[in-house]
Amino acid sequence: MLNHSIKTQHRLYLQQKTKEKRRVLWTQSMLAVTFFILWEAASRLAWIDPLIFSMPSQIGLLFLEKVSDGSLLVHTSITLAETAAGFLLGSAGGALAAFLLWWSAFFSKVFDPYLVILNAMPKVALGPIIIVIFGPGILSIIAMATLLSIVITTIVVYHAFQQVDDNYKKVLLTFGATKKQLFHYAVLPACYPTIISTMKVNVGLAWVGVIVGEFLVAKQGLGYMIIYGFQVFQFRQVMLSLIVIAVLAAVMYKSIEALERFLISRRGR
């Protein structure tokens, strides 16, 4: 009897939750729909300048056109490849630099003020120097993406290395562990969560870097589409690229978040 009633109550509770979820989803969709309708209407009624803001229907048409002629796929895959490269280089390079700083206390003390300055430097302004060094090509774009994320990765990951509970190291030291073993068995695995969450930030930075890089020097890619759109005052192309970028970046972010959840659940905490 009692068990029966608990089950009923549980079902009720679950129904309640599902309803709530549906309400959230519904509101979200309504918001999106309203936004696009408002945008379309405002543009059509010329409350906002359709030349600059374009309108969803036109962007949609352009999207279909560019999908069917295959050009969007080309631009997107180039940008994606650049982003992935910049992201990986930035993350790996930053982690490596963090390791070196962790390894040598002297080294880290010496570099501390330089890291602050490098971090504070608005790296988007370094474009010309990057072009001079890496030439006007895809290397520069990847370098920009790398540059944008490597310093902050170094700082955050090094900070995480330092924050590792000394007692984990103590456990290893009681077995006579070497510094390398300390790093391998305690410091690095303890920091995986931080490293992964830094990666979430890095995805965003790599995107910004690639877009800025493509602004500077590119023949193809979503950033190039934006710049070219500006050049010939085709703002719907700009909007289309922006939307594609935002969606892709969000997907990448969410994937890393999923990876994070997966890894953390696998660790059992």
Partner: protein, 259 residues
């Protein structure tokens, strides 16, 4: 046999030089179980770290079976207040860590460790992560980890203090029996006087500022032979507790007025 001779440790900070422990001379016989008790900050952890070779003494020497000890030694095992099992490793990986680090990891040592894990009631938990274990189970796993490379001298820094009372009582018995069986020498640091009495053969009462041995108590033979749980329930336990408690009160009130 473990012998400390005139151990002194001074910590330096920018403002002060703190004499954490000074003039510590003591010996522990093989197979003996001794406890260090004393007020917070009297240097118990410091001393244990020195014995374990984690910390260099400012002066003084340590002998283990008449050999001078310097730095890390395979003879010592260390257990911390919390388990510090690595959350990203399974229990099996955790307990075999010491073997891996010391390079002793062979199928043989591995299976021996698994056996020990089984003895301590964790046989079925080898492949789960620490987060799924209760506090007591985790501390038992930490015990196995310490014992795996077969140290002969065990250093226990308040290993039970984070556990709830019932769990603690059970674990005290388990540790005591396990160590007795394996004929290990052990040094236990604790804040809990009744635990010290229940578990050890000898109790060193420390005082602080600087940390020195204030007094040494030999636990009556009668209590020594009992398991910790039995000791606590022995009629003579409380009078003995009372006696050391007063001494402890003295030591504490001398330097502190806080609870």
């Amino acid at each position: 046999m473990l012998a400390l001779q005139e151990i002194e440790k001074i910590y330096f900070t920018d403002e002060h030089a703190v004499r954490a422990v000074t003039d510590i001379t003591l010996t522990v016989k093989n197979g003996e179980f001794v406890s260090f008790i004393g007020p917070s900050g009297c240097g118990k952890t410091t001393l244990l770290s020195i014995i374990a070779g984690l910390l260099e003494p400012t002066s003084g020497t340590i002998f283990m079976n008449n050999h001078k000890m310097e730095g890390y030694s395979k003879e010592t095992g260390y257990m911390l207040q919390q388990d510090y099992l690595f959350p990203w490793l399974t229990i099996r990986q955790n307990v075999e860590l010491g073997l891996v680090i010391t390079g002793l990891h062979t199928p043989e040592t591995s299976s021996r460790t698994m056996q020990l894990l089984e003895q301590l009631g964790l046989g079925d938990k080898a492949d789960v992560f620490p987060a799924e274990l209760s506090g007591g189970m985790r501390q038992r796993a930490a015990l196995v980890r310490m014992l795996a490379p077969e140290p002969s001298l065990l250093l226990l820094d308040e290993p039970f203090s984070a556990l709830d009372y019932q769990t603690k009582l059970k674990l005290e018995d388990l540790v005591s029996i396990t160590l007795k069986n394996q004929h290990k020498t052990a040094v236990l640091v604790t804040h809990d006087l009744s635990e010290a009495i229940a578990m050890s053969d000898r109790i060193f009462l420390f005082e602080s500022n600087p940390g020195t041995i204030h007094h040494t108590f030999d636990v009556p033979e009668m209590l020594r032979s009992l398991s910790p749980f039995e000791t606590r329930n022995h009629p003579s336990f409380h009078s003995y507790f009372q006696k050391i408690w007063e001494e402890l009160e003295n030591v504490e009130s001398q330097y502190q007025d806080s609870t």
